[in-house]
């Protein structure tokens, strides 16, 4: 039963990634694209965690932790670039 639920959740998050991709390409504003990228990062983290359960391994938590951090910093840097024109003042 867990296998089935895992497959379902993986399908949901993959579909979510595709929807994010639509918003990323479509825009229309810069804020929409940043938001889409931010959501993509979160969906990817979920996919990595699900993959960890799938192959029954705990090796991937460091990976998802790092992606979470890099995703957050890049979102903030992107916003800051648009707000101020540079990232580190």
């Amino acid at each position: 039963m867990i296998t089935l639920a895992l497959a379902f959740a993986t399908g949901c998050f993959t579909l979510g990634l595709l929807l994010n991709l639509y918003r990323l390409v479509r825009g229309p504003r810069a804020a929409d694209r940043i938001l889409a990228l931010d959501t993509m990062v979160i969906n990817v983290i979920a996919l990595i965690v699900l993959y960890g359960i799938w192959i029954d391994s705990q090796t991937f938590f460091e990976v998802s932790m790092l992606i979470a951090m890099v995703g957050f910093v890049s979102t903030v840097a992107y916003c800051r670039f648009i707000l101020r024109g540079n990232i580190i003042e």
Partner: protein, 125 residues
Amino acid sequence: MSQLSEVAISALLVISGLFGLVGSWGLVRLRDTLQRLHAPTKATTLGVGGALLASMLYFALTHGQVSFHELMISVFLFITAPVSANFIAKTHMLHHVQPEELPPTGRATGWAGYEAAGQGEGSGN
């Protein structure tokens, strides 16, 4: 592993998948940028939270080892999600929302982002 824990893990996985999908769907469906901001910051965070909870339960029940990494990831996401949402809102507002569209502050000064650059920025976000 008992039947009950299997049902619990499966239910968590299904719920998290549904919420993740709804969050991404909201990003596509809603019409206004600021409305879209509401969809993913909420639904996706609970979606990932459910997946992490399921993973924690799974490894605790099948391998008997309690892992705190999932807890760390969810705490990190719960702390950072509001900050990135706030940044995205500010980015959008400064270019596409005029100060006249906003309600008055009820104070002598206006909203921080529209005052002279650099004043009050960074406090409380």
